[in-house]
């Protein structure tokens, strides 16, 4: 990757659009930006990081290999930020960085811009960032696709080895000398390309997990299949037993059927007596039924006959009952009549006694009292005679009559009881006759059949009956046995289907085996590569170190151990106990360079404040070395105190491709235009503007907008 152009828009001290042309006709690979403090060296350095990675990591502090602080440099805000202060405070709050570079895949244009989404953005969340990456003649890639495209030619993991902060060099050194790399480990691994391999291993692990999951399912199925096979084998035995049982039942049935057939044959020889015997049998069955019925009829008859005596007695008792019943009625009237008569007599006696000559009925004076009295006496006598006559009548007392009527009434049979008795008796009698009739018929049939034949027939019939019973039983048993066989066959087919189901997928096992082997290979490769890389880093770093350190006889080599802990070795091969700070800084630079070299990535190196920790000799040697490396662009952002512009340009002229100065207008008392450089300049105190009297260029010396001026080489 070779940078061609860098375009800044409202970045740091660069207000508006600033273009930096990094194309050079010269063969050198060195690029230098010289400036005093606060002129924008780090802003350019950060602008490129932001353009490439979307954010700028603030400098972190490292103690004992552990990284503290850091964070992200904000795009906007009241403190230190990426956007130009004027643009942020007064303009539309928009900034952009564009990098044009050539890569083996073609020219690349990376454009990242950010614009406020509000009227005044106070934090990055209120900024909308867009990315556009165009490679060759392909369509522009944006967003995530753009980030991934950048990752292809400038992996983020390598940022620390290509954007080197000279001010943080001591932290690099501390990390490298620590027993554990921790903070640097990821980057070292990234430089060695191990993340790709590790990612590959992770990918393989994921794929293998998927395969193993399938295999697990398959194994379960295999297990189930195996169980089904065992069950099927057991089922086969059950089926065999069921079939054997069925066959035995069939044989037994066949045997008894043959015997039955023989019996039927023998019975057929008694054809002539068969109807008679069957008729007799039928009659005997009927006889038994009738006898049973007769028993019930006899019981009914006895039940009905329980009131028979009443029918007999009632015939005699009925007239008496009716007689006494009549007397009972008469007695009731008789007693009442006597009482009435007594009352009349009493009244008549009273009238006669109290007679006053006034008619008691009409109230008039009687014309003949005596005659009236005589008539009343005569009436009274008649009443007394009647009473005497009535009393003389022989009528039993009512109580006696009531008892007699009650006793006789108790003998009265229930209505229609004679009919019921007669019916029960007839029913019984008819059944007795019927039974006698049946017995007679049976007797007649018996007489018609020869005793011997009858005995033989009876025996055969009995045998046939027994055999028919056995046949029925054996047929039922055979039916069950056949059902058992059918069920066993169905179950066996089901189990055989399960057992026979193809569940094994050899491809899955093969794939698992291959992935496993690949993983082992990858791990071995990582281990092997890491060790090889370590040796290469050690060799490369030692080589660089020898060239750059100013005491190559004392500090001969660098040792990089397996944990990438670095140490300076002396001429005797031992670890230098107290190397100089310059030697340590050079060791660090050497290791970083070696790691970068081993990474194989041809990416520009950006070195901010490169000579901060170095003495003059080391600074010169460092540039001498790096600006000679194999075509890789090496950009330094140097403070004027580190590297003076003139001497540096002069000394490394043939290694420099381009050099720039970053300055404020106020830094220039002479005209700063390259083709003028006139010192004939007037200064207007009132307006604080310098004017070149030769070319007419004017500049405000109070301006804080940095000028980027190319240094003629």
């Amino acid at each position: 990757m070779q940078l061609q152009y860098l375009v800044l828009y409202n970045i740091g001290p660069f207000r508006g659009r600033k273009e930096i042309d990094l194309r050079a006709a010269r063969p050198g690979n060195g690029f230098a930006f010289f400036a005093e403090n606060n002129r924008g060296k780090t802003s350019i350095y950060n602008a490129m990081r932001w353009c490439l990675f979307g954010e700028v990591s603030a400098r972190a502090r490292t103690v004992n290999g552990e990284v503290y602080g850091g964070g992200v440099l904000p795009m906007v805000g009241d403190g230190k930020c990426l956007m130009n202060n004027h643009a942020y405070q007064n303009d539309e709050q928009e900034m952009e960085v564009m990098i044009l570079a050539s890569t083996p895949r073609g020219d690349v244009v990376i454009r990242r811009s950010a614009k406020s989404t509000t009227t005044f953005a106070r934090k990055d969340a209120e900024m909308k960032t867009t990315l556009s990456v165009k490679i060759g003649s392909n369509d522009s890639l944006t967003g995530r696709e753009g980030e991934e495209a950048i990752q292809q030619f400038f992996p983020r993991e390598l940022e620390r080895f290509f954007f080197i902060d000279g001010e943080a060099l001591e932290e690099y050194t501390e990390m490298m000398q620590a027993s554990s790399l921790k903070g640097l480990k990821d980057e070292v691994n990234a430089v060695l390309g191990i993340p790709a391999l590790t990612r590959g291993d992770d990918d393989l692990s994921r794929i293998r997990e998927g395969v193993k999951s399938k295999i697990g399912v398959t194994q379960k199925a295999v297990k189930a299949k195996s169980k089904a096979q065992d069950d099927a084998n057991n089922q086969k035995l059950k089926l065999e037993r069921a079939i054997k049982e069925r066959n035995q039942k069939e044989a037994l049935l066949e045997t008894i059927l043959k015997k039955l057939e023989q019996t039927e044959l023998e019975l057929s020889k008694h054809k002539e007596i068969q109807p008679l015997i069957e008729e007799k049998k039928r009659l005997e069955v009927q006889l038994e039924l009738n006898k049973e019925t007769l028993s019930n009829f006899a019981k009914d008859k006895q039940d009905e006959a329980k009131s028979a005596w009443k029918i007999l007695l009632w015939k005699r008792a009925k007239p008496d009952y009716e007689k006494y019943r009549a007397q009972q009625q008469t007695s009731l009237l008789h007693d009442r009549d006597i009482e009435d008569l007594k009352s009349k007599i009493e009244l008549a006696e009273k009238d006669l006694k109290e007679m006053t000559g006034i008619c008691g009925e009409c109230g008039q004076t009687l014309p003949d009292l005596e005659k009236f009295k005589e008539r009343k006496k005569s009436d009274l006598s008649d009443l007394n005679r009647t009473l005497t006559s009535m009393k003389e009548k022989e009528i039993l007392p009512l109580d006696t009559l009531n008892k007699i009527v009650g006793d006789l009434g108790g003998l009265k049979p229930e209505p229609r009881s004679l009919d019921r008795i007669a019916k029960a008796n007839n029913r019984w009698k008819n059944m007795v006759d019927e039974i006698q009739n049946l017995e007679e018929k049976i007797k007649n049939l018996d007489e018609k059949v020869d005793e011997e034949a009858k005995g033989e027939f009876a025996e055969l019939s009995e045998r046939r009956g027994r055999q028919q019973t056995v046949v029925a039983n054996r047929e039922a048993e055979l039916k069950i046995a056949r059902t058992d066989v059918l069920l066993a066959e169905t179950e066996l087919r089901r189990l055989e289907r399960l057992a026979g189901k193809s569940v094994e997928n050899k491809e899955e096992y093969e794939l698992d085996r291959i992935i496993g082997a690949l993983q082992v290979t990858v791990k071995d490769t990582i281990a092997s590569y890491r060790d090889t890389a370590r040796e290469e880093v050690q060799a490369r770093a030692s080589s660089v170190f020898k060239r750059l350190n100013n005491a190559p006889d004392v500090y001969t080599n660098i040792r990089v151990d397996k944990g990438f802990k670095t140490e300076i070795l002396n001429s005797k091969g031992g670890v230098s106990p107290n190397p100089s700070s310059g030697a340590i800084a050079i060791m660090t630079m050497s290791v970083i360079d070696a790691l970068r070299h081993v990474s194989g990535m041809n990416i520009p190196v950006f070195l901010d404040t490169p000579g901060r920790s170095l003495d003059e000799q080391h600074k010169q040697k460092m540039l001498e070395y790096f600006w000679k490396t194999e075509g890789q662009q090496f950009l330094i952002f140097a403070h004027s105190g580190e590297y003076e512009v003139g001497p540096t340009v002069e000394r490394f002229n043939d290694q420099l491709a381009k050099a720039f100065t970053l300055s404020l207008p106020g830094d220039h008392k002479a005209c700063y235009l390259a083709d003028c450089k006139s010192e004939n300049v007037d200064y207007d105190v009132a307006s604080k503007v310098n004017t070149c009297n030769d070319c007419g260029n004017t500049w405000d010396i109070t301006s804080d907008e940095t000028l980027i001026l190319e240094v003629p080489l």
């Binding site: 006898k291 008859k301 006959a305 005596w309 007999l312 006789l408 007669a422």
Partner: protein, 123 residues
């Protein structure tokens, strides 16, 4: 009136006692036995004898009939006057009627008749 009457015991001649016992104890359903106990048969025989006004003296060879289930007093209203007239106990007169009734049954059966047909025979 009734207070003066003696209740007496129920008896049958040995012959009739045997007859009625055989009648009742027969297990055959086809035998003409409308009575399920001796008392039932005794009551029927008494009623039959009474209907037909027939009595028969019971000789010296007699057997007592268990009075269980047969209360002679129940029939006092029918035969009290006759008992008084003949100076005989209730049980004695009832027994004579029963003895005569059983004789009628025996004769009827001997003639091929069924016992319950006697219900229709008018005196």
């Amino acid at each position: 009136m009734t207070a003066e009457l003696k209740t007496g015991s129920l008896q049958l001649s040995s012959e009739m006692h045997g007859f009625i016992s055989n009648l009742v104890n027969s297990d055959s359903s086809s035998a003409d036995n409308p009575f399920d106990s001796i008392v039932e048969g005794f009551r029927f025989a008494f009623s039959l004898g009474h209907l037909h006004g027939k009595t028969k003296k019971i000789g010296t060879s007699s057997q007592t009939v268990s009075p269980r289930g047969f209360i002679a007093k129940d029939y006092e209203v029918l035969i009290a006057d006759e008992c008084k007239a003949r100076d005989i106990s209730l049980g004695g007169l009832i027994s004579e009627y029963a003895e005569a009734g059983l004789e009628m049954i025996a004769e009827h059966q001997s003639a091929g008749g069924m016992i319950l047909d006697l219900l229709s025979v008018e005196p």
